[in-house]
Symmetry: C2
């Protein structure tokens, strides 16, 4: 297959990221583009979840995906194979994306006619939570092997998320993962966060997540 | 049990972290203290691995553990229950520890007579790799559920590590993890890194890791 487009995003020179993020969000509203910021630790299954999501939604929505990584273009290739527009953002070692870095990617991505833009953030449960990317909604994935105590240890990530996907529930029998405790810890950080258990590998629960996303996109573009 | 000591480490005001780290290392050499910096993504099993390690080594070495976390004191409690001196470092939201933050913890930890000090860094595969903590050796854990492609995506972490523990090998049958590819990708980043597959939960392979650590401590204190 063809090489995917790789953008070397430059670190923002703007001090006021919150303001830049707000401006980006207002522009997205005007243009009818819903931007989802998907975050998680490394290896939680962001790309596999996106591949499943895209399969369920690509016939009804024009989707574009930005894959942010410090290095490699593995993920953008996977997404391109799913039949959606995908670009790779290289952060040059940076541990997160801010609003201006996101805009650099979006400018490239939405040259076409994208309704749902998805940013797969750098795999990191700490720093990406500190920077508003300009996204309409934030989603986090926590996978069963990581343990149910993560909302205690990484509070901000769960605080800023509108929805938390609990991934890899197929391997729950092999790990000491307490789903009820996990839900309780997430509620401590953010009582309004939606919690959706899924298995991106088998597809279990992904339809519920796709429903949630579909509703959010429709409300934003209404 | 008693509450563990929690230190709120302050972000360093020193611009030259590399120099501060070097000074700390020289002081550790003079005092015969070996400092290990243990890094990984969230949920890779740092604390469980340390609990196993401490069990194997605590009768021959005086061990102290610093558990760095953004919040909670879960990990320091686990370590204290293993019968070693343990303190909790709170980073106040910071995604990594630098040399001066490490020193703040060490000053508290080695008030006693510690020969092997272990820093469990913040769970993050990106930022901690960028800051020399002053440790004598760096170790990283990559767990099977995270996937064998992580050295491609998080190059610096694997570049700076002297040893990589591949944890959770007990669940390998349930994941598409290719050990040979993983070794190859680690070698691409760092041909000198030791790679040791372990299962911290069952103890498999941990003796080999303890042997490696024992040798490093002896060489440093010789």
């Amino acid at each position: 297959m063809d090489a995917v487009k790789i953008i070397e995003v430059k670190q923002s020179v703007f001090a006021n990221n919150d303001q830049r993020a707000q401006l980006l969000r207002e522009e997205l509203k005007r243009r009818g583009i819903f931007l989802l910021n998907l975050m998680s630790a490394p290896g939680s299954g962001k790309t596999t979840t996106l591949a499943r999501t895209v399969k369920l939604l690509k016939d009804e929505l024009k989707i574009g995906v930005m894959e942010a990584d410090i290095d490699s273009d593995v993920d953008a290739r996977v997404m391109a194979e799913c039949g959606v527009k995908a670009i790779q953002l290289h952060t040059g070692g940076m541990c997160h994306l801010d609003a201006d870095m996101t805009r650099q990617g979006l400018d490239e991505l939405v040259a076409g006619d994208v309704e749902l833009a998805i940013l797969e953030n750098v795999g990191n449960l700490v720093c990406p939570a500190e920077f508003d990317t300009g996204a309409v909604k934030n989603a986090a994935i926590l996978s069963v092997p990581e343990g149910h105590d993560k909302p205690l240890k990484y509070p901000l990530m769960f605080q800023v998320c509108d929805v938390v996907l609990i991934n890899k529930i197929d391997v729950a029998p092999y790990f000491d993962f307490d789903m009820e405790k996990c839900r309780e810890y997430i509620r401590m950080r953010n009582p309004n966060a939606e919690v959706i258990p899924i298995c991106a590998k088998t597809g279990e629960g992904v339809d519920r997540w796709a429903d949630w996303l579909r509703e959010q996109v429709a409300a934003w573009r209404a």
